[in-house]
Symmetry: C2
Amino acid sequence: MESLRILAENFGRLEGVGKKTATRMAFSVLEWDREDVESFAKAILDAKEKIHLCPICQNLTDKDVCPICADPERDHSLICVVTDARAVMAMEKVREFRGVYHVLHGMISPMNGITPEQLKIRELLLRIEEGNVDEVIVATNPTVEGEATAMYLSKLLRPIGVRVTRLAYGVPVGADLEYADEITLFRALEGRREV
Amino acid sequence: MESLRILAENFGRLEGVGKKTATRMAFSVLEWDREDVESFAKAILDAKEKIHLCPICQNLTDKDVCPICADPERDHSLICVVTDARAVMAMEKVREFRGVYHVLHGMISPMNGITPEQLKIRELLLRIEEGNVDEVIVATNPTVEGEATAMYLSKLLRPIGVRVTRLAYGVPVGADLEYADEITLFRALEGRREV
């Protein structure tokens, strides 16, 4: 069944989905009503069409400027740099962070051929050059790539006179920020240190 | 982001996908190129449109009659009754079974309100009434529901003079047939016993 195989292949391209899981998913969809299947296909197209990057922080949004960047109550002099949009969601759950974000869309990883040029670092520099930025908290994951990215940013930003800090090692080493609980993230934020 | 939430909800409706995984998947799709996203939506609609149930064995197929039912080389007097289409795929990997299949699309489960009437048992009876069926191998999962379904089928079919067998307990108890390896399935098939 060619169409089933193609569907499973598509599921298999999702992050973290193996071949067996992808096949299960394809079978699962076939059990749905036609109406639900059509809604699913529409939801995929809709999301891709409506969601784009915020021109300021590079986070995903369906608005011209994302609600966080557009919020005058937030502290725009404090930028928390994260790897991806999911990390923003995780940080926002803490409810303690009143600054704004910058989403890099990846981490520096020579092993995987990801260089600083492929990340949204240029956009971060532009924001800082516009002034009014006092501190950049580098909240990349506490992994080798995350640390490498933090070091790179520190070396790049400190000469411009920006305070660069790193989340404290309250975050379990080697883990993904997305899976940290609120309390751990809060403590990591409180204990942040200069890089 | 309403459209992201809706997309995540749709992923969450897939079998075995929790809320967190569903959100990851939704974010994952947004990272794809527009072209790939469109192919994904198309694959979903295509699969649902082209794949239907084989009128004989009730397995999923994109042909009028599925390739197994249409194969004159297979032994049509030997029917292996399974829970779902994935179990057929698992059985076919053994390459030792030369009979045909019948897909019930579920198991009897009073706990979950699933009665024999909701399964493709009527269609199985019709096949048997047409004659030429010597043996029915009940290859439902070795779980409570699987056993209940096997007992039900045995009581229903034996009076009609059909030999009813059950896969041997080579299959690990409590597991899903889909995850059994080929050798285990082969042994289970060899050691099948009368119910």
